[in-house]
Structure formats: structure tokens, C-alpha cells
């Protein structure tokens, strides 16, 4: 299978009505590992993830994959901070991306059942997705994103409103996905989660990349006073 990585952002900027949201960003994401995007509220984490995924077109610069953009569409996925539930059953939510890819109904159903079991939703297969709890919805969104075996998975603060148990279950699924070769790019506010999952860290402040490199180096030797303050949990201006 052709790899869509590395992903390179070259002077990529995203603006909204003239206001710079993030950029210019110059980063390259290699084939494996977990990149954690850190930064205070409004630093541009969500904008960066959306731009890298292709939900937003860069206002300047470019985002380039190893293959043409249209060939990446089915090989990358996105998990949103507030899970978007289709008004269907859990099973139909899971099967939907597969059906889009032309997978036969019976096979899509089998794979949906398999993924529901993997994230602990096997008893909820016939329930409407929108009546699930927040944690269950996020697990469903994660399973739906992983069901097409994406090479790259973007996650925008997927555990932001979840309790410890649900967070642990999400993290276990993410660790398993990373071990299976899925490249993870995830934003979070949870420093403990960042330390547990990150292979490399991208630290954003006011839309600019302040640091990008190995996680251990970032946490052990913060590259700037702002990074040090952020890691300590202080308010970063």
C-alpha cells in the first residue's frame, strides 16, 4: 500500500476574514509515531489540524502529502472535539464510511460489529447514536474514524469533556491504533495525556509554532519560557 506520508506544511497559513488563525507553519510529519499538538486556548491547534487534514485550504503556503491530495482522502480521518453523530444507529454510523468506500453491506455490517466490540459498544449496536453518553459517542466517533484503517488520524481534543475512565479507554484504542501503524496527530490540554502518548510535541502560541521536536526533550528541557510555563500549568500570555 502506498504511504501518503510524509506530510509537509510549508509556510502554511490559515486566515479567517483577514485575521491570522495559525501560521506560517513549517513542519514535516514522518511515517510513524504520535504527534501531540499543545498550546493554550486560541493558539491555533484546531485550525492547524483542520488545515493539515484538508478541511480548510491554506490561505498562504501549502500542505503537501507524499501523494496527490485526492489519493489521501480515504487514508486519513478526523475525530472532532464534539463528536458528530449521524442520526442513525451505532452500527449504521460505523458502517457509513465503509459503504462510502463501496464495501458490501454484509461486510460493512460485520466490520461495524467488530469495531463496536473493540470500543466496548457491542451492546449498543442497535441504539440511536445520538442518545449515547458523551464518552460512548466519542468512542463511536473514534471507531468510525479507524474503521477504514487510515494511515493518518487527526484528533482534536478527543477527551476534552470525558471522565478518567472514558479517557483511559480512548487512550487504549489510540495506543493500539498507533501500534498497528496509524500515524496520530492529536491536540490536547491534558499534560498527563500528552506525556503518556507523545512521541513528538508541536507547541503553538498565538498561531505560531514555538517548538516542534521529540516529546522527551520538550518535557525535560522546555525550549522557551512560555513552554516551561505551559508545562507547569501556569497562564501563558
Amino acid at each position: 500500500m502506498t504511504s501518503i506520508l510524509p506530510l509537509r506544511a510549508e509556510g502554511a497559513e490559515l486566515r479567517f476574514r483577514g485575521k491570522l488563525l495559525v501560521g506560517p507553519v513549517d513542519v514535516s510529519l514522518g511515517a510513524k509515531g504520535v504527534t501531540i499538538v499543545l498550546g493554550p486556548n486560541g493558539s491555533g491547534k484546531t485550525s492547524l489540524l483542520r488545515m493539515l487534514h484538508g478541511l480548510e485550504c491554506p490561505s498562504a503556503g501549502q500542505v503537501r502529502w507524499a501523494v496527490p491530495m485526492h489519493e489521501t482522502f480515504e487514508k486519513q480521518a478526523f475525530v472532532f472535539q464534539s463528536p458528530i453523530m449521524m442520526r442513525r444507529t451505532v452500527r449504521d454510523n460505523l458502517a457509513y464510511p465503509l459503504r462510502l468506500s463501496g464495501v458490501a453491506r454484509a461486510e460493512a455490517r460485520d466490520r461495524a460489529d467488530h469495531w463496536a466490540a473493540r470500543v466496548g459498544l457491542q451492546d449498543a449496536l442497535d441504539r440511536q447514536a445520538t442518545v449515547l453518553s458523551g464518552g460512548e459517542q466519542q468512542k463511536l466517533a473514534l471507531a468510525r474514524a479507524l474503521i477504514r484503517d487510515p494511515q493518518v488520524l487527526f484528533l482534536d481534543e478527543p477527551c476534552a469533556s470525558l471522565d478518567g475512565r472514558a479517557t483511559r479507554e480512548i487512550e487504549e484504542t489510540l495506543v493500539a491504533a498507533a501500534a498497528a501503524g496509524t500515524r496520530l496527530v492529536m491536540s490536547t490540554h491534558d499534560m498527563g495525556q500528552a506525556r503518556r502518548l507523545a512521541d513528538e510535541v508541536l507547541f503553538l502560541l498565538h498561531g505560531k509554532v514555538q517548538a516542534f521536536g521529540p516529546a522527551r526533550a520538550f518535557f525535560d528541557h522546555p525550549p522557551s519560557a512560555q513552554a516551561r510555563a505551559f508545562i507547569k500549568g501556569d497562564i501563558v500570555e
Binding site: 487534514h53 478541511l55 482522502f73 480515504e74 480521518a77 478526523f78 472532532f80 458528530i84 449521524m86 442520526r87 442513525r88 457509513y96 464510511p97 462510502l100 441504539r127 440511536q128 445520538t130 442518545v131
Partner: protein
Amino acid sequence: MGELWEGMRQAVWLVVTLDPDLVEISLRSLRVTLSALLIASMIALPLAAVLTVQRFRFRRLTVATLNALMGLPPVVVGLIVYIILSRGGPLGVLGLLFTPWAMVIAQVVIIVPLIASVAHQSLRELWSEYHDLLISLSTTKRQRIAALLWDGRRALLTAALAGFGRAIGEVGAIMIVGGNIEHVTRVLTTAIVLETGKGDFALALALGFILIAMAIVINFAIHNLSRTETEGRW
């Protein structure tokens, strides 16, 4: 007040005895209205979905126009359809004037904007929910429209029922293009107008009660079949 009671009594009597004339015009009313509803829904629902997901230069103007057309005066629609279908009109060769099909056409023209506008409102809300997900899944326009129509089907049913309500009670346009011809184009509403004109208020009221009952029964039946009020369903 006495006429109201007499109307109700006659309505019950007509229904209990399955009065042949009543059965005939009731069935014609249903046939014409349901045909118009089916055709109008086939036009209006995809139109609403396209207006929701497609960005084009005059989209807002188109939506505003559609909303404005919800208030189309039926008599004017009837007049225009009459001119188009009359012998000298562009579709005169079809010979549809004073047939149930002319009534269907007039009703379609009247309810398409209504169904499309109500459906567009529902689909727009659904699209704002689904937008990021469907873009992220790299769906085609056709797949987005299909997802919206399928997942919004219960809200769309409400739009269709609004169209049904408007069509079944419509009289101005179908009187003009249908002509209220006995055994051919007479329906409940035109029969009510006729009986009122003749001064037979009791019979007119009886037909009115039957019309209202029919509209309510059809609405209940469709709601029940589609389980719109079932918990956790839409």
C-alpha cells in the same frame, strides 16, 4: 348552531351508508392530492437538499424566492395553469384541461415551494451538524444529499405533510383548471363550494367535516407508520 349539528348528523350518515357520491369524490380528492404530493415531493425534496449543500451565485436569492412563493395565491396559479393548458396555450395539445391531471399540476405548483422551503430549513440545520464530518469523509455532493435526505427523513415528512394539508384543502386553483365536473373533476372542496352556493349548508358542512377527518386520519397514519414520535428517532 342547528346547521352545525345537522351537518355532523349528515356527515355521520353519509359515512355510515357509504354514500356512493361521497365515496367517489373522496377517493378522487385523495387520488389527486396524493399524486400531487408524490410528484411535488420528488421535485421539492432533492431541490431543498441541493440548495442546502450547493454553493452558487444566486443561492440566497433562490432560497428567498422559494420562501416568497410559499404564499402563491392559488387562484393565480389556477389561472396561469389554465392558460398554459387551454387549447391555445403551450401545452394545449395534451388536452389536460378539466381533467384530474390539470388539478394535480396546479396543486404541484402550489405545494412545491412550501415543501421545498420547509424541507430546506430542516436540512440546513442537519447540514450544519454534518458538514465537517461529511467533508472529512470526502463524500461527493450526491452522497451528501443522500445522507441528508435519509437522516432527515422524519423532518422531511413534516414538510410533506404541510404540503398535503395545503393541497387537500385547496379549492381556488382546482376549481379553475378542473371545472368541478360531476364524476370527472369534482372533489370534496369544490363540492363544498357547490353545495354552499346551492344553500345546502348542512351537506356542505358534512363534506367539510369529512374533509377535516380525512386530513387528520392521513396525518395520523403517516406519523404512525414513520414513528416520528418514538423516543430516540427522528
